[in-house]
Symmetry: C2
Subunit: 417 residues, 2 copies
């Protein structure tokens, strides 16, 4: 918060901030051909700091002390995690939840929580001297592996269903991954990747198979706890497909509890789409076994699995945390996606927005109280699936470039609060 005055970059006139100012009132009178701006005002500071701040303790370095890496191993040169925990004041008012937070994992390098798992798996591949890493994915894990492998100079072979959203597909191809588009479901791609790793000797990053995916994802819990300390989270709301993100969060909180850094572990709330709710069904029917959903389908492609690979561990972790699960409809996810963007400035893919939909459902069921300290994990960025996002908005028709048309179109348009 610096003191300042305005100075015209052309005539050097000075102005105080005594009114709302744009360009220099003197110079901007004279038009240049074509509309090049004249009299751009510059801010001149009068009390800027004269020393750099002291070197700060590296948060990253602290987190690394929880990661199963050898002392000599190097992380790929692409920072992952350390994403913001947002205080979402407008959403707090809307939901009457004064202690609501959003962990914005859309800020990861490839735009999803999966970067956390891929970072650690690629670091281990470097440690082991393995040249090729493979994974099956609905889209985000493949993209994440492609990005981190690119930064580390390793080959990524990724198996995705042919139906993966175009944005994710183009993103993983841009990073230079070998992309195997399988004319089948994610579950078939999963099995094919397993077999290919066996046959070709690749390092297998498949979720629920490689133990380091959970270790990577646990960093989200370490960060949430560090960002909230000395407070604790009561509930973390977790979009759930295979169940590995939830198991990763549980692991992170367990590691912190074992270290004495937190006293208690938050309740974990698993959110699945109604069309792909194998884990939530088991939670709600108190079953110990998983009934595959053979016709699994949802707008949240990242959560669409027939057989949640990490279902057993995920179930156990939800129960140990005294958490629960909710299933949400695609329409609810789409609506929540709009509310999240409009009230927080976070544009999430459907899987990410499912966290808000799940919270709303849990509030209506009474399994979460509005006074609790609740964290929404927003797992992926909205630009990853523009086709899904298009459902939540209405694209306006082009208008002629005149003020009357502007006035008319704005009168017609829905009013945002």
């Amino acid at each position: 918060m610096a003191s300042f005055f305005f100075r015209c970059t052309e005539c050097d006139s000075r102005y105080n901030e005594d009114e709302i100012r744009l360009t220099c009132p003197v110079c901007s009178e004279q038009q240049l051909p074509g509309g090049v701006a004249r009299g751009v005002l510059e801010v001149v500071l009068t009390d800027a700091p004269t020393d750099w701040p002291p070197l700060r303790f590296s948060e990253i370095e602290f987190l690394h002390r929880f990661l199963p890496l050898s002392p000599t191993s190097l992380l790929p040169a692409i920072p992952v995690g350390s994403t913001p925990l947002l205080s979402v004041p407008r959403l707090r008012r809307e939901l009457e939840m004064p202690r609501l937070w959003a962990k914005d994992d859309t800020r990861n390098p490839s735009g999803s929580t999966k970067d956390r798992a891929s970072l650690l798996v690629v670091a281990k591949a470097l440690e082991y001297g393995v040249g090729t890493i493979a994974t099956a994915s609905t889209g985000n894990a493949a993209t994440a592996l492609a990005a981190i492998a690119a930064a580390a100079g390793r080959r990524a072979v990724v198996f995705v269903p042919a139906s993966a959203p175009e944005g994710k597909l183009i993103q993983m191809l841009a990073y230079g991954a070998d992309v195997v588009r399988v004319d089948a479901s994610y579950d078939d791609a999963f099995e094919l990747c397993m077999a290919a790793c066996d046959r070709f000797g690749w390092y297998n990053r498949n979720t629920a198979i490689n133990p380091f995916t959970i270790e990577g994802k646990k960093t989200a819990a370490l960060e949430i706890a560090a960002q909230l300390a000395p407070e604790f989270a009561d509930v973390v709301v977790v979009p759930t497909g295979d169940g590995v993100i939830l198991a990763g969060l549980a692991k992170g909180f367990a590691d912190l509890q074992a270290s004495g850094l937190i006293d208690r572990v938050p309740r974990l709330l698993a959110v699945q789409p109604e069309g792909s709710a194998a884990i939530v069904n088991a939670i709600r029917t108190r079953s110990d076994s998983i009934e595959p959903v053979h016709s699994a389908a949802s707008i949240a492609d990242s959560l669409t699995v027939q057989v949640p690979r990490n279902a057993l561990l995920c179930l156990r972790r939800v129960r140990e945390s005294y958490g629960t699960g909710v299933a949400v409809s695609d329409d609810h996810i789409t609506a929540a996606s709009g509310r999240l963007a409009r009230h927080t400035g976070v544009f999430a893919e459907p899987a990410g927005a499912a966290a808000l939909a799940g919270l709303e459902k849990a509030l209506s069921e009474g399994s979460v109280d509005r006074s609790e300290n609740v964290v929404l994990l927003i797992t992926g960025a909205g630009l990853k699936d523009v086709t899904a996002a298009r459902r939540a908005v209405e694209i306006p028709a082009p208008i002629p470039a005149d003020l009357e048309s502007v006035a008319a179109t704005l009168t017609d348009s829905r009013q945002e609060s």
Copy 2:
């Protein structure tokens, strides 16, 4: 870097990391129906830290001391900036530039450098008590304003050419902005926004008109200098449309020099597409006036302007820094976009990748030396313009889910280094 062993989450067997391990060799023998994983291995830490790190000095707080905000003003609750400065080891080797860096501004909340300007403008609007903020934009500035205004609870009215990429359009609509799609160029949208602000009394965020856009963008320079300290940048490579990002960087370095925090200011290298190179043309012909490019066109939509609004100030700042300008072809931008993603893991929109294309051109011309400390400013995320990104990749055809098809498709695929 923690010490650890593996424990099976089902049978509790323990294993050392004596070989590459996936699931528990005992439990995973027994298949569950449908492929639910058995015997997921968990990492057990043996030497995790037992204290939180000391509270760190807030980097954000330090940066705020350079911002023209009143002591009581609040920033919108959405962190902007503090993006990573990447050491890009593989690109360094490729270009034989041991001191090359990439400032990854794709990590901003709406995915571009424009968030920096919008944060400050919205903060000033809050300070002034203004309810509606308007801007014209090729796409990113509008999206950025929409995101920050959403977080702050202010109305954004944005004027964009009808040709703006769909991803950006959907993104700004998702944030709840009032979007005026003008059936005309960015330049016409610019004039229309000016007139609409006059008529309706809105606060005008137009670039080169509102002095706080430069102040917001200068934070990129503050961060680059802080991240490189005690070293200095010799050159910063800046994708250039209207010229405000470059002027903002110059302002940031100037503020730091005035504070005695840096001894010298880097040379600023302006990069424009050949089809929209008004500023670079002026630099290279040593002209003091700007010749509008009436048929401006480029794959880099963010850099496509007929009349660069901040051309005069930008020209002066390039010259004062002893910098220069280069124009690059659309094909070069597309190719650079692929190289950037494959060698760094940063997936940029064409405007962002133009920084790498510009550097390559400057190297071939001799205006940048390979031994210099050079920073590429990567201004926007690749997912913002999937149509452009599609040009740089080949989408593979779906294959049947069997190993023979995998082997065949990988033999055919291009080999990445």
